[in-house]
Protein backbone atom coordinates (compact mmCIF):
# COMPACT_ATOMS: atom_id res chain seq x y z
CA UNK A 1 0.00 0.00 0.00
CA UNK A 2 1.13 3.58 -0.67
CA UNK A 3 2.87 5.56 2.01
CA UNK A 4 0.95 8.65 3.14
CA UNK A 5 3.34 10.02 5.73
CA UNK A 6 7.05 9.44 6.28
CA UNK A 7 9.42 10.68 8.96
CA UNK A 8 13.05 11.02 7.89
CA UNK A 9 15.68 11.16 10.64
CA UNK A 10 13.50 13.36 12.84
CA UNK A 11 15.26 14.81 15.90
CA UNK A 12 13.77 17.17 18.46
CA UNK A 13 15.74 19.11 21.04
CA UNK A 14 14.07 21.45 23.53
CA UNK A 15 15.93 24.49 24.84
CA UNK A 16 18.53 24.36 22.09
CA UNK A 17 20.03 27.71 23.01
CA UNK A 18 20.14 27.09 26.75
CA UNK A 19 22.87 25.51 28.88
CA UNK A 20 20.97 22.24 29.27
CA UNK A 21 19.30 21.32 25.99
CA UNK A 22 17.03 18.29 26.27
CA UNK A 23 17.00 15.91 23.33
CA UNK A 24 13.61 14.24 23.14
CA UNK A 25 13.65 12.42 19.79
CA UNK A 26 16.64 10.68 18.18
CA UNK A 27 16.71 10.02 14.41
CA UNK A 28 13.19 8.67 14.16
CA UNK A 29 12.41 7.04 10.80
CA UNK A 30 8.79 5.95 10.30
CA UNK A 31 6.43 5.23 7.41
CA UNK A 32 2.63 5.25 7.70
CA UNK A 33 0.50 3.62 5.03
CA UNK A 34 -2.78 4.88 3.64
CA UNK A 35 -5.92 3.83 5.59
CA UNK A 36 -3.85 2.04 8.23
CA UNK A 37 -4.78 2.00 11.92
CA UNK A 38 -1.67 2.65 14.05
CA UNK A 39 -0.99 2.89 17.76
CA UNK A 40 1.99 4.61 19.33
CA UNK A 41 2.67 3.49 22.88
CA UNK A 42 5.28 4.39 25.41
CA UNK A 43 5.74 5.55 28.98
CA UNK A 44 5.22 9.17 29.86
CA UNK A 45 8.36 11.09 28.99
CA UNK A 46 9.23 8.67 26.21
CA UNK A 47 8.66 11.35 23.55
CA UNK A 48 5.49 9.91 22.02
CA UNK A 49 3.45 13.12 22.43
CA UNK A 50 6.29 15.16 20.95
CA UNK A 51 6.32 12.75 18.04
CA UNK A 52 2.58 13.18 17.49
CA UNK A 53 2.87 16.98 17.66
CA UNK A 54 5.59 16.87 15.02
CA UNK A 55 3.60 14.50 12.85
CA UNK A 56 0.64 16.86 13.25
CA UNK A 57 2.81 19.83 12.21
CA UNK A 58 1.95 21.57 15.46
CA UNK A 59 5.68 21.56 16.20
CA UNK A 60 8.67 21.52 13.85
CA UNK A 61 11.50 18.98 14.10
CA UNK A 62 14.93 20.33 15.05
CA UNK A 63 16.47 18.31 12.23
CA UNK A 64 15.04 15.82 9.77
CA UNK A 65 11.98 16.10 7.58
CA UNK A 66 8.38 14.94 7.31
CA UNK A 67 6.88 14.02 3.95
CA UNK A 68 3.15 14.06 3.38
CA UNK A 69 2.37 12.18 0.13
CA UNK A 70 6.06 12.69 -0.73
CA UNK A 71 5.87 16.49 -0.20
CA UNK A 72 8.18 17.96 2.43
CA UNK A 73 6.52 19.96 5.21
CA UNK A 74 9.80 21.64 6.19
CA UNK A 75 9.57 24.38 3.61
CA UNK A 76 5.96 25.39 4.35
CA UNK A 77 5.31 28.73 6.09
CA UNK A 78 3.35 28.98 9.33
CA UNK A 79 0.15 29.90 7.49
CA UNK A 80 0.68 27.19 4.86
CA UNK A 81 1.11 24.65 7.65
CA UNK A 82 -2.13 25.88 9.22
CA UNK A 83 -3.90 25.42 5.89
CA UNK A 84 -2.33 21.95 5.54
CA UNK A 85 -3.58 20.94 9.00
CA UNK A 86 -7.02 22.28 8.20
CA UNK A 87 -7.27 20.32 4.92
CA UNK A 88 -5.46 17.09 5.60
CA UNK A 89 -5.39 16.40 9.33
CA UNK A 90 -7.97 15.77 12.00
CA UNK A 91 -7.12 16.08 15.69
CA UNK A 92 -8.61 14.36 18.70
CA UNK A 93 -7.08 15.39 22.00
CA UNK A 94 -7.16 13.87 25.43
CA UNK A 95 -9.02 16.79 26.97
CA UNK A 96 -11.66 17.12 24.24
CA UNK A 97 -10.93 20.77 23.53
CA UNK A 98 -14.32 21.62 22.16
CA UNK A 99 -15.12 25.31 22.05
CA UNK A 100 -17.47 25.62 25.04
CA UNK A 101 -19.10 28.74 23.56
CA UNK A 102 -20.46 26.78 20.61
CA UNK A 103 -22.99 23.96 20.15
CA UNK A 104 -22.03 20.41 19.20
CA UNK A 105 -23.01 20.99 15.56
CA UNK A 106 -21.11 24.31 15.40
CA UNK A 107 -18.04 22.61 16.85
CA UNK A 108 -18.23 19.89 14.22
CA UNK A 109 -18.49 22.53 11.48
CA UNK A 110 -15.62 24.63 12.88
CA UNK A 111 -12.74 23.11 10.81
CA UNK A 112 -14.86 23.58 7.69
CA UNK A 113 -15.61 27.21 8.55
CA UNK A 114 -11.92 27.83 9.22
CA UNK A 115 -11.29 26.78 5.62
CA UNK A 116 -13.39 29.82 4.63
CA UNK A 117 -15.69 27.97 2.27
CA UNK A 118 -19.38 28.77 2.26
CA UNK A 119 -21.59 26.41 4.25
CA UNK A 120 -23.54 24.30 1.77
CA UNK A 121 -26.40 21.87 2.33
CA UNK A 122 -23.95 19.10 1.54
CA UNK A 123 -21.67 20.09 4.41
CA UNK A 124 -24.59 20.49 6.80
CA UNK A 125 -25.77 17.00 5.87
CA UNK A 126 -22.28 15.66 6.39
CA UNK A 127 -22.01 17.27 9.83
CA UNK A 128 -25.40 15.84 10.81
CA UNK A 129 -24.44 12.47 9.45
CA UNK A 130 -21.18 12.47 11.42
CA UNK A 131 -23.05 13.39 14.59
CA UNK A 132 -25.43 10.51 13.88
CA UNK A 133 -22.49 8.14 13.37
CA UNK A 134 -21.06 9.09 16.79
CA UNK A 135 -24.56 8.69 18.22
CA UNK A 136 -25.24 12.34 19.09
CA UNK A 137 -27.92 13.20 16.54
CA UNK A 138 -30.21 14.36 19.34
CA UNK A 139 -27.61 16.53 21.04
CA UNK A 140 -26.37 18.58 18.11
CA UNK A 141 -27.83 21.90 19.29
CA UNK A 142 -26.58 21.58 22.86
CA UNK A 143 -23.71 23.75 24.00
CA UNK A 144 -20.49 21.76 24.33
CA UNK A 145 -20.34 22.50 28.06
CA UNK A 146 -23.68 20.78 28.59
CA UNK A 147 -22.42 17.44 27.25
CA UNK A 148 -20.80 14.64 29.28
CA UNK A 149 -17.12 13.79 28.88
CA UNK A 150 -17.84 10.83 26.59
CA UNK A 151 -20.27 12.86 24.50
CA UNK A 152 -17.73 15.67 24.14
CA UNK A 153 -15.10 13.19 22.99
CA UNK A 154 -17.47 11.81 20.39
CA UNK A 155 -18.20 15.36 19.13
CA UNK A 156 -14.41 15.84 18.86
CA UNK A 157 -14.23 12.67 16.74
CA UNK A 158 -17.00 13.94 14.44
CA UNK A 159 -15.20 17.28 14.23
CA UNK A 160 -11.89 15.64 13.27
CA UNK A 161 -13.63 14.07 10.25
CA UNK A 162 -15.62 16.97 8.82
CA UNK A 163 -13.00 18.05 6.26
CA UNK A 164 -12.43 14.45 5.05
CA UNK A 165 -8.84 14.45 6.35
CA UNK A 166 -6.31 11.93 5.10
CA UNK A 167 -5.02 11.33 8.62
CA UNK A 168 -6.61 11.56 12.06
CA UNK A 169 -4.20 12.06 14.96
CA UNK A 170 -5.44 11.18 18.41
CA UNK A 171 -3.54 11.80 21.65
CA UNK A 172 -4.91 9.55 24.43
CA UNK A 173 -8.44 10.00 23.02
CA UNK A 174 -9.90 7.92 25.83
CA UNK A 175 -7.47 9.01 28.51
CA UNK A 176 -10.10 10.21 30.92
CA UNK A 177 -13.06 8.05 29.95
CA UNK A 178 -14.34 4.94 31.75
CA UNK A 179 -13.60 1.51 30.25
CA UNK A 180 -17.08 0.99 28.70
CA UNK A 181 -16.91 4.34 26.94
CA UNK A 182 -13.32 3.65 25.93
CA UNK A 183 -14.43 0.45 24.27
CA UNK A 184 -17.21 2.26 22.38
CA UNK A 185 -14.93 5.06 21.22
CA UNK A 186 -12.40 2.58 19.79
CA UNK A 187 -15.08 0.61 18.01
CA UNK A 188 -16.22 3.88 16.53
CA UNK A 189 -12.73 4.87 15.37
CA UNK A 190 -12.26 1.45 13.80
CA UNK A 191 -15.60 1.72 12.04
CA UNK A 192 -14.68 5.11 10.60
CA UNK A 193 -11.28 3.76 9.56
CA UNK A 194 -13.00 1.06 7.55
CA UNK A 195 -15.83 3.22 6.23
CA UNK A 196 -13.89 6.34 5.15
CA UNK A 197 -10.43 4.76 4.63
CA UNK A 198 -8.98 7.37 6.99
CA UNK A 199 -5.47 6.76 8.37
CA UNK A 200 -5.43 6.77 12.19
CA UNK A 201 -2.40 7.39 14.39
CA UNK A 202 -3.37 6.97 18.02
CA UNK A 203 -1.27 7.55 21.10
CA UNK A 204 -2.20 5.43 24.07
CA UNK A 205 -0.58 3.95 27.14
CA UNK A 206 -3.21 1.23 27.28
CA UNK A 207 -1.78 -2.04 25.85
CA UNK A 208 -5.19 -3.69 25.55
CA UNK A 209 -6.28 -0.84 23.31
CA UNK A 210 -3.08 -1.03 21.31
CA UNK A 211 -3.62 -4.69 20.68
CA UNK A 212 -6.75 -3.91 18.67
CA UNK A 213 -4.82 -1.89 16.10
CA UNK A 214 -3.02 -3.07 12.91
CA UNK A 215 0.36 -1.85 14.02
CA UNK A 216 1.94 -0.99 17.37
CA UNK A 217 4.94 1.31 17.57
CA UNK A 218 6.61 1.57 20.95
CA UNK A 219 8.72 4.63 21.68
CA UNK A 220 11.34 4.40 24.39
CA UNK A 221 13.78 7.19 25.32
CA UNK A 222 13.09 9.05 22.10
CA UNK A 223 13.73 6.09 19.79
CA UNK A 224 11.55 3.52 18.03
CA UNK A 225 11.92 0.50 20.35
CA UNK A 226 9.39 -1.89 18.84
CA UNK A 227 7.43 -1.80 15.57
CA UNK A 228 5.01 -4.71 15.21
CA UNK A 229 2.51 -5.08 12.37
CA UNK A 230 -0.18 -7.74 12.48
Amino acid sequence: MASILSLRKVCKTYGENTKNPTKVLFDVDLEFEESSFNAIIGQSGSGKSTLLNIVGSLDRPTTGDILFKNESLAKLSKNDLAAFRNRSLGFIFQFHYLLPEFTALENVLMPYRISKQPITDEVMNRANELLDIVGLGNFKNKLATNLSGGQQQRVAIARSLINNPAIVLADEPTGNLDSDTTEKVYELLREINQKFKTTFIIITHDRTVAEKTDRVIEIKDGRVYLDISK
Partner: protein
Protein backbone atom coordinates in the same frame (compact mmCIF):
# COMPACT_ATOMS: atom_id res chain seq x y z
CA UNK B 1 -13.52 37.33 8.88
CA UNK B 2 -17.13 36.30 9.44
CA UNK B 3 -15.95 33.39 11.57
CA UNK B 4 -13.65 35.63 13.61
CA UNK B 5 -16.57 38.01 14.20
CA UNK B 6 -18.85 35.17 15.28
CA UNK B 7 -16.22 33.73 17.62
CA UNK B 8 -15.67 37.21 19.10
CA UNK B 9 -19.41 37.55 19.67
CA UNK B 10 -19.64 34.12 21.33
CA UNK B 11 -16.62 34.78 23.53
CA UNK B 12 -18.20 38.01 24.74
CA UNK B 13 -21.60 36.44 25.31
CA UNK B 14 -20.09 33.46 27.12
CA UNK B 15 -18.74 35.68 29.91
CA UNK B 16 -21.63 38.09 30.16
CA UNK B 17 -20.70 39.69 33.46
CA UNK B 18 -17.13 40.44 32.41
CA UNK B 19 -18.38 41.85 29.10
CA UNK B 20 -20.92 44.02 30.88
CA UNK B 21 -18.26 45.39 33.23
CA UNK B 22 -16.00 46.39 30.33
CA UNK B 23 -18.90 47.96 28.44
CA UNK B 24 -19.86 49.87 31.58
CA UNK B 25 -16.25 51.02 31.94
CA UNK B 26 -16.21 52.37 28.41
CA UNK B 27 -19.68 53.86 28.86
CA UNK B 28 -18.65 55.75 32.00
CA UNK B 29 -15.63 57.14 30.14
CA UNK B 30 -17.74 58.21 27.16
CA UNK B 31 -20.44 59.71 29.36
CA UNK B 32 -17.89 61.79 31.27
CA UNK B 33 -16.49 62.96 27.95
CA UNK B 34 -19.93 63.84 26.60
CA UNK B 35 -20.91 65.55 29.85
CA UNK B 36 -17.76 67.62 30.29
CA UNK B 37 -17.52 68.47 26.59
CA UNK B 38 -21.15 69.59 26.30
CA UNK B 39 -21.05 71.48 29.59
CA UNK B 40 -17.90 73.41 28.68
CA UNK B 41 -19.20 74.11 25.17
CA UNK B 42 -22.48 75.37 26.65
CA UNK B 43 -20.66 77.50 29.22
CA UNK B 44 -18.45 79.02 26.57
CA UNK B 45 -21.32 79.78 24.23
CA UNK B 46 -23.25 81.37 27.06
CA UNK B 47 -20.25 83.37 28.23
CA UNK B 48 -19.48 84.57 24.73
CA UNK B 49 -23.11 85.46 24.19
CA UNK B 50 -23.48 87.47 27.39
CA UNK B 51 -20.16 89.23 26.89
CA UNK B 52 -20.21 90.10 23.24
CA UNK B 53 -23.58 88.88 21.99
CA UNK B 54 -25.19 92.33 22.35
CA UNK B 55 -22.41 94.63 21.29
CA UNK B 56 -20.30 95.52 18.34
CA UNK B 57 -17.70 92.87 17.56
CA UNK B 58 -15.78 94.93 14.99
CA UNK B 59 -15.95 98.76 15.09
CA UNK B 60 -14.60 101.19 12.50
CA UNK B 61 -13.91 104.83 13.41
CA UNK B 62 -12.05 107.79 11.98
CA UNK B 63 -9.85 109.52 14.53
CA UNK B 64 -11.19 112.98 15.57
CA UNK B 65 -13.41 113.12 12.51
CA UNK B 66 -16.86 112.04 11.43
CA UNK B 67 -17.24 109.58 8.59
CA UNK B 68 -18.88 111.18 5.58
CA UNK B 69 -20.17 109.11 2.66
CA UNK B 70 -20.71 106.24 5.09
CA UNK B 71 -23.30 104.41 2.96
CA UNK B 72 -20.68 103.52 0.36
CA UNK B 73 -18.25 102.41 3.07
CA UNK B 74 -20.93 100.18 4.63
CA UNK B 75 -21.64 98.55 1.25
CA UNK B 76 -17.92 98.11 0.56
CA UNK B 77 -17.23 96.43 3.93
CA UNK B 78 -20.37 94.30 3.80
CA UNK B 79 -19.26 92.93 0.42
CA UNK B 80 -15.70 92.27 1.58
CA UNK B 81 -16.54 89.28 3.81
CA UNK B 82 -19.21 86.59 4.00
CA UNK B 83 -18.67 86.41 7.71
CA UNK B 84 -20.33 89.75 8.55
CA UNK B 85 -23.76 88.96 9.97
CA UNK B 86 -24.93 92.54 10.34
CA UNK B 87 -23.38 95.98 9.79
CA UNK B 88 -24.81 99.23 11.16
CA UNK B 89 -23.65 102.89 11.15
CA UNK B 90 -24.04 104.92 14.37
CA UNK B 91 -23.43 108.49 15.52
CA UNK B 92 -22.50 109.12 19.15
CA UNK B 93 -22.23 112.35 21.09
CA UNK B 94 -21.89 113.46 24.76
CA UNK B 95 -24.00 115.76 26.88
CA UNK B 96 -26.29 115.98 29.89
CA UNK B 97 -29.97 115.31 30.45
CA UNK B 98 -31.77 117.68 32.78
CA UNK B 99 -35.17 117.25 34.41
CA UNK B 100 -36.15 119.78 37.07
CA UNK B 101 -33.17 119.80 39.49
CA UNK B 102 -31.75 116.45 38.35
CA UNK B 103 -28.87 116.24 35.89
CA UNK B 104 -27.04 113.22 34.47
CA UNK B 105 -24.21 113.10 31.98
CA UNK B 106 -25.13 110.76 29.15
CA UNK B 107 -23.98 109.22 25.93
CA UNK B 108 -26.34 110.10 23.09
CA UNK B 109 -26.33 107.33 20.52
CA UNK B 110 -28.05 107.61 17.16
CA UNK B 111 -28.86 104.31 15.39
CA UNK B 112 -30.39 102.97 12.23
CA UNK B 113 -32.70 100.70 14.17
CA UNK B 114 -33.42 98.32 11.29
CA UNK B 115 -29.84 97.02 11.52
CA UNK B 116 -28.77 98.17 15.00
CA UNK B 117 -31.52 96.12 16.63
CA UNK B 118 -29.83 92.97 15.28
CA UNK B 119 -26.68 93.91 17.19
CA UNK B 120 -28.13 95.29 20.42
CA UNK B 121 -31.48 93.44 20.55
CA UNK B 122 -33.23 96.53 21.95
CA UNK B 123 -36.63 95.02 21.46
CA UNK B 124 -35.87 92.25 24.01
CA UNK B 125 -34.51 94.80 26.47
CA UNK B 126 -37.31 97.39 26.38
CA UNK B 127 -39.45 97.52 29.51
CA UNK B 128 -43.21 97.16 28.88
CA UNK B 129 -44.82 100.22 27.29
CA UNK B 130 -41.65 101.25 25.46
CA UNK B 131 -41.45 102.04 21.76
CA UNK B 132 -38.60 102.54 19.33
CA UNK B 133 -37.66 106.27 19.19
CA UNK B 134 -38.22 106.44 15.46
CA UNK B 135 -39.40 110.03 15.10
CA UNK B 136 -37.11 113.05 15.29
CA UNK B 137 -36.18 114.00 18.86
CA UNK B 138 -37.73 110.92 20.41
CA UNK B 139 -35.42 109.02 22.79
CA UNK B 140 -35.30 105.82 24.83
CA UNK B 141 -33.25 105.81 28.06
CA UNK B 142 -31.28 103.41 30.16
CA UNK B 143 -33.46 102.11 33.00
CA UNK B 144 -31.39 103.72 35.77
CA UNK B 145 -31.98 107.17 34.26
CA UNK B 146 -35.68 106.72 34.94
CA UNK B 147 -35.14 106.97 38.70
CA UNK B 148 -32.11 109.21 38.65
CA UNK B 149 -33.94 111.86 36.65
CA UNK B 150 -37.42 111.11 37.98
CA UNK B 151 -39.03 110.80 34.56
CA UNK B 152 -41.38 108.39 32.81
CA UNK B 153 -42.59 107.46 29.36
CA UNK B 154 -44.30 110.42 27.67
CA UNK B 155 -42.32 113.09 29.60
CA UNK B 156 -40.13 115.70 27.97
CA UNK B 157 -36.51 116.02 28.97
CA UNK B 158 -33.87 118.66 28.20
CA UNK B 159 -30.58 117.69 26.49
CA UNK B 160 -27.67 120.04 27.12
CA UNK B 161 -24.37 120.05 25.25
CA UNK B 162 -21.57 122.57 25.78
CA UNK B 163 -20.76 122.61 22.08
CA UNK B 164 -24.06 122.07 20.34
CA UNK B 165 -26.57 123.83 22.63
CA UNK B 166 -29.93 122.59 23.91
CA UNK B 167 -32.63 120.27 22.56
CA UNK B 168 -35.85 118.96 24.05
CA UNK B 169 -36.44 115.19 23.72
CA UNK B 170 -39.60 113.21 24.18
CA UNK B 171 -39.11 109.98 26.23
CA UNK B 172 -40.78 107.00 24.50
CA UNK B 173 -39.19 104.09 26.34
CA UNK B 174 -36.67 102.59 28.75
CA UNK B 175 -34.34 99.63 28.24
CA UNK B 176 -32.51 97.32 30.60
CA UNK B 177 -29.18 95.84 29.42
CA UNK B 178 -28.41 94.35 32.82
CA UNK B 179 -25.18 96.36 32.76
CA UNK B 180 -25.00 99.48 34.98
CA UNK B 181 -22.62 101.33 32.69
CA UNK B 182 -25.18 101.23 29.88
CA UNK B 183 -28.29 101.61 32.05
CA UNK B 184 -26.77 104.75 33.68
CA UNK B 185 -25.61 106.59 30.57
CA UNK B 186 -27.09 105.44 27.27
CA UNK B 187 -29.74 107.52 25.52
CA UNK B 188 -30.71 106.02 22.18
CA UNK B 189 -32.40 107.75 19.31
CA UNK B 190 -32.60 107.79 15.54
CA UNK B 191 -29.51 108.67 13.51
CA UNK B 192 -31.18 111.87 12.23
CA UNK B 193 -31.78 113.25 15.73
CA UNK B 194 -28.06 113.23 16.53
CA UNK B 195 -27.08 114.43 13.04
CA UNK B 196 -29.50 117.32 13.57
CA UNK B 197 -27.87 118.30 16.86
CA UNK B 198 -24.23 118.21 15.75
CA UNK B 199 -25.16 119.87 12.48
CA UNK B 200 -22.40 118.35 10.33
CA UNK B 201 -24.65 116.91 7.63
CA UNK B 202 -25.15 113.22 6.84
CA UNK B 203 -22.28 111.77 8.90
CA UNK B 204 -21.67 108.94 11.40
CA UNK B 205 -18.96 108.33 14.00
CA UNK B 206 -18.79 104.51 14.05
CA UNK B 207 -19.57 101.60 11.80
CA UNK B 208 -20.39 98.55 13.92
CA UNK B 209 -20.58 94.88 12.97
CA UNK B 210 -21.45 91.45 14.30
CA UNK B 211 -19.98 88.28 12.86
CA UNK B 212 -21.07 84.70 12.22
CA UNK B 213 -17.79 83.29 13.57
CA UNK B 214 -16.88 85.57 16.46
CA UNK B 215 -13.49 83.97 17.09
CA UNK B 216 -12.36 84.84 13.56
CA UNK B 217 -12.71 88.60 14.21
CA UNK B 218 -8.96 89.33 13.97
CA UNK B 219 -8.51 87.34 10.77
CA UNK B 220 -11.53 88.91 9.12
CA UNK B 221 -10.28 92.36 10.05
CA UNK B 222 -6.77 91.82 8.74
CA UNK B 223 -7.47 89.68 5.68
CA UNK B 224 -10.76 91.01 4.38
CA UNK B 225 -11.92 94.33 5.81
CA UNK B 226 -8.67 96.30 6.07
CA UNK B 227 -7.54 95.45 2.55
CA UNK B 228 -10.49 97.33 1.02
CA UNK B 229 -10.59 100.55 3.04
CA UNK B 230 -8.31 103.53 3.62
CA UNK B 231 -5.66 103.12 6.31
CA UNK B 232 -6.98 106.27 8.01
CA UNK B 233 -9.76 104.19 9.49
CA UNK B 234 -9.21 102.65 12.89
CA UNK B 235 -10.55 99.10 13.22
CA UNK B 236 -10.98 97.52 16.67
CA UNK B 237 -12.22 94.01 17.42
CA UNK B 238 -13.79 92.55 20.54
CA UNK B 239 -10.77 90.27 20.81
CA UNK B 240 -8.26 93.12 21.15
CA UNK B 241 -10.47 94.62 23.86
CA UNK B 242 -11.07 91.34 25.73
CA UNK B 243 -7.75 89.54 25.85
CA UNK B 244 -8.43 88.20 29.34
CA UNK B 245 -11.80 86.73 28.29
CA UNK B 246 -10.18 85.03 25.34
CA UNK B 247 -7.37 83.61 27.50
CA UNK B 248 -10.00 82.34 29.92
CA UNK B 249 -11.96 80.65 27.16
CA UNK B 250 -8.84 79.03 25.74
CA UNK B 251 -7.81 77.80 29.20
CA UNK B 252 -11.24 76.28 29.63
CA UNK B 253 -11.06 74.54 26.24
CA UNK B 254 -7.62 73.17 26.99
CA UNK B 255 -8.56 71.82 30.41
CA UNK B 256 -11.72 70.27 28.94
CA UNK B 257 -9.61 68.61 26.26
CA UNK B 258 -7.11 67.37 28.85
CA UNK B 259 -9.87 65.79 30.93
CA UNK B 260 -11.25 64.10 27.82
CA UNK B 261 -7.83 62.80 26.76
CA UNK B 262 -7.11 61.32 30.19
CA UNK B 263 -10.54 59.70 30.32
CA UNK B 264 -9.82 58.05 26.94
CA UNK B 265 -6.36 56.95 28.10
CA UNK B 266 -7.80 55.30 31.21
CA UNK B 267 -10.50 53.61 29.11
CA UNK B 268 -7.85 52.25 26.73
CA UNK B 269 -5.71 50.94 29.60
CA UNK B 270 -8.76 49.33 31.21
CA UNK B 271 -9.90 47.53 28.06
CA UNK B 272 -6.39 46.53 27.13
CA UNK B 273 -5.66 44.86 30.45
CA UNK B 274 -9.03 43.12 30.57
CA UNK B 275 -8.67 41.81 27.03
CA UNK B 276 -5.14 40.64 27.83
CA UNK B 277 -6.64 38.50 30.57
CA UNK B 278 -9.29 37.26 28.12
CA UNK B 279 -6.54 36.02 25.79
CA UNK B 280 -5.22 33.92 28.68
CA UNK B 281 -8.73 32.71 29.56
CA UNK B 282 -9.34 31.73 25.95
CA UNK B 283 -5.89 30.30 25.26
CA UNK B 284 -7.32 26.76 25.25
CA UNK B 285 -9.86 27.74 22.59
CA UNK B 286 -7.21 29.59 20.59
CA UNK B 287 -4.95 26.53 20.80
CA UNK B 288 -7.61 24.21 19.40
CA UNK B 289 -8.56 26.72 16.70
CA UNK B 290 -4.93 26.90 15.66
CA UNK B 291 -4.57 23.11 15.68
CA UNK B 292 -7.58 23.00 13.39
CA UNK B 293 -5.77 25.40 11.10
CA UNK B 294 -7.03 28.91 11.81
CA UNK B 295 -4.61 31.46 10.37
CA UNK B 296 -2.78 33.73 12.81
CA UNK B 297 -4.35 36.81 11.23
CA UNK B 298 -7.85 35.48 11.85
CA UNK B 299 -6.94 34.63 15.43
CA UNK B 300 -5.93 38.29 15.90
CA UNK B 301 -9.13 39.48 14.27
CA UNK B 302 -11.14 37.76 17.00
CA UNK B 303 -9.76 40.15 19.58
CA UNK B 304 -9.96 43.20 17.32
CA UNK B 305 -13.64 42.41 16.81
CA UNK B 306 -14.04 41.98 20.55
CA UNK B 307 -12.55 45.44 21.01
CA UNK B 308 -14.81 46.86 18.33
CA UNK B 309 -17.97 45.30 19.73
CA UNK B 310 -17.12 46.47 23.24
CA UNK B 311 -16.39 49.95 21.86
CA UNK B 312 -19.65 50.17 19.89
CA UNK B 313 -21.86 49.09 22.78
CA UNK B 314 -19.83 51.11 25.28
CA UNK B 315 -20.18 54.19 23.10
CA UNK B 316 -23.94 53.79 22.66
CA UNK B 317 -24.50 53.25 26.38
CA UNK B 318 -22.04 56.04 27.21
CA UNK B 319 -23.84 58.57 25.02
CA UNK B 320 -27.18 57.64 26.57
CA UNK B 321 -25.65 57.98 30.05
CA UNK B 322 -23.96 61.27 29.15
CA UNK B 323 -27.11 62.81 27.71
CA UNK B 324 -29.01 61.54 30.77
CA UNK B 325 -26.44 63.17 33.03
CA UNK B 326 -26.77 66.46 31.15
CA UNK B 327 -30.53 66.27 31.43
CA UNK B 328 -30.33 65.54 35.15
CA UNK B 329 -27.81 68.34 35.60
CA UNK B 330 -29.96 70.97 33.89
CA UNK B 331 -33.10 69.74 35.66
CA UNK B 332 -31.82 69.35 39.20
CA UNK B 333 -28.81 71.63 39.61
CA UNK B 334 -30.92 74.80 39.59
CA UNK B 335 -28.49 76.63 37.33
CA UNK B 336 -29.59 77.86 33.94
CA UNK B 337 -26.42 77.02 32.03
CA UNK B 338 -27.58 76.39 28.48
CA UNK B 339 -26.04 73.02 27.62
CA UNK B 340 -25.18 72.52 24.00
CA UNK B 341 -25.69 68.93 22.86
CA UNK B 342 -24.07 68.73 19.48
CA UNK B 343 -24.73 65.67 17.32
CA UNK B 344 -21.31 66.06 15.70
CA UNK B 345 -19.62 66.04 19.10
CA UNK B 346 -21.57 62.94 20.19
CA UNK B 347 -20.59 61.17 16.98
CA UNK B 348 -16.97 62.20 17.51
CA UNK B 349 -17.01 60.88 21.10
CA UNK B 350 -18.49 57.58 19.91
CA UNK B 351 -15.93 57.34 17.09
CA UNK B 352 -13.05 58.02 19.48
CA UNK B 353 -14.34 55.39 21.93
CA UNK B 354 -14.61 52.75 19.20
CA UNK B 355 -11.19 53.59 17.78
CA UNK B 356 -9.69 53.59 21.29
CA UNK B 357 -11.24 50.19 22.04
CA UNK B 358 -9.77 48.75 18.86
CA UNK B 359 -6.36 50.23 19.66
CA UNK B 360 -6.67 48.73 23.13
CA UNK B 361 -7.39 45.35 21.51
CA UNK B 362 -4.25 45.52 19.38
CA UNK B 363 -1.85 44.18 21.98
CA UNK B 364 -4.09 41.24 22.97
CA UNK B 365 -4.63 40.57 19.26
CA UNK B 366 -0.88 40.38 18.65
CA UNK B 367 -0.52 38.21 21.73
CA UNK B 368 -3.13 35.80 20.43
CA UNK B 369 -1.47 35.55 17.02
CA UNK B 370 1.82 34.67 18.70
CA UNK B 371 0.29 32.06 21.00
CA UNK B 372 1.78 28.65 20.21
CA UNK B 373 -0.46 25.60 19.96
CA UNK B 374 2.17 23.42 21.58
CA UNK B 375 2.26 25.56 24.74
CA UNK B 376 -1.49 25.29 25.09
CA UNK B 377 -1.64 21.56 24.42
CA UNK B 378 1.30 20.72 26.63
CA UNK B 379 0.03 22.81 29.54
CA UNK B 380 -3.52 21.57 29.07
Amino acid sequence: MKLAFQIAKRFLLASKRQTLVIILGIAVGVSVQVFIGSLIAGLQASLVNTTIGSRSQITITLEDEYITDYQNLVTLIDNSSDNIRVISPTLTSNGSLINNDNSESILLRGFEFSTADEIYKFEEKFIPGSEFPNALNEVALGLNLKENLGIDIGDDVEFLSGIYGNQTFKVVGFFDFGVNEINNTWVITGLDTVQNIINEGNVVSNIEMQLNEVFDAEDITKLEIETGISSNFKVTTWISENQSLLTGLQGQSTSSLMIQVFVIVSVVLGISSTLAITVLQKSKQLGILKAMGIQDGDASLIFLFEGMLLGVFGAILGILLGVGLLYAFTTFSGTDIPISINAGFLALSAGIAIAASMIAALSPAIKSSKLSVIEVIRNG
